[in-house]
């Protein structure tokens, strides 16, 4: 045993600690609240029919932004209560893992916003693409989070793929419904799925 070996072992310990530190802050409440926001947004978009492509994109990107902001505030509050750093290493890695796919999804929304005359097929595929990108974001972040998040991300990717197949077929047959119904797709996927997953997390987190 020599000093090189000791230095190597210290490096191994550092790597192991970094790699195994999991992000688990406020998962259940943020997921449940995101679900509630998603369901409310779905109902609002459908009831006060937001029918234009631009309106649809702005409305759902704002909903996503609000959900993100509320989640970050809850995470910050929990960190403050536990006297921990908000911008800790696990939080940083979790956010970094989410960013690329969320950025790609945002770009798709911006395209819908800046081109008001964009065709209906694009708009109908937006929820499917958002689901897939969001699923990818969760899957990436799942490597730094407790087990279950990757499965949740995979469910989104699967739902997105099914939706895309369905709506592309509808578009080819020119039987796409009015864009107002896309709010239901968004509300049920982003709202209901998050809500039930949040409930599941709150039940299992207390027991573990």
């Amino acid at each position: 045993m020599d000093a090189d070996w000791a230095a190597q072992r210290l490096g191994e310990i550092r790597t192991l600690m970094e790699r195994s530190s999991l992000y688990r802050r406020a998962l259940a409440p943020t997921t449940t609240l995101t679900g509630i926001i998603g369901m409310i947004a779905g109902i609002v978009g459908w009831t006060f029919p937001i029918e234009t492509g631009k309106g649809f994109c702005i409305f759902w990107m704002m909903t996503g932004g609000i959900s993100l902001l509320v989640s970050l505030l809850m995470i910050r509050r929990q960190a403050w209560k536990d006297k921990e750093l908000f911008w800790s290493r696990p939080t940083r890695r979790f956010i970094q893992a989410l960013c690329p796919a969320l950025f790609a999804g945002t770009c798709l929304g911006i395209i819908g916003m800046v081109h008001p005359q964009i065709n209906k097929a694009y708009l109908w595929n937006l929820p499917a693409l958002w689901m897939m990108f969001y699923g990818c974001a969760l899957f990436s972040a799942g490597f730094f989070m407790p087990r279950g998040i990757r499965l949740f991300g995979s469910i989104y990717v699967l739902c997105g793929a099914i939706s895309m197949f369905h709506f592309t077929t509808e578009a080819l047959h020119q039987t796409l419904p009015r864009i107002v119904h896309a709010h239901i797709v968004m509300g049920s996927s982003f709202g209901i799925l998050h809500f039930f997953y949040g409930i599941y997390l709150s039940l299992t987190e207390h027991n573990s």
């Binding site: 000093a3 000791a6 310990i13 192991l16 999991l22 299992t204 573990s208």
Partner: protein, 103 residues
């Protein structure tokens, strides 16, 4: 001095598998069996054997509960474990420092 330092090495933590478990538990307040296994890429048997040794040394607390009627095992590091792990790291740093001074 050098021989003395080396002889102080904690043999329980020194083993590679147990060092990995202690590192993971030092970074997380609590980890389940699956999380530990997944994070370290160890087999079920390896995790169980090393955890038993760490538990016998008083470094780890094992909690067994039921989640949705399924057994759920989680692990936490004890105060004693944290102290021993800190001392182990301090000793490694001491070895590195002594070597730098001698060169």
């Amino acid at each position: 001095m050098k021989t003395e330092t080396f002889s102080q090495i904690n043999k329980v933590i020194h083993e590679k598998g147990r060092m990995a478990i202690m590192s993971a538990l030092a970074a997380n307040p609590e980890m389940s069996f699956k999380e530990l296994k997944g994070a370290l890429g160890m087999t079920d048997g390896n995790v169980s054997v090393h955890i038993r040794t760490l538990q016998q040394a008083g470094y780890v607390i094992v909690s067994k509960t039921f989640v949705n009627n399924r057994p759920h095992t989680s692990y936490r590091m004890t105060e004693q474990g944290l102290k021993a792990f800190s001392e182990y790291i301090d000793l490694l740093e001491e070895i590195v420092r002594l070597n730098r001074e001698s060169h």
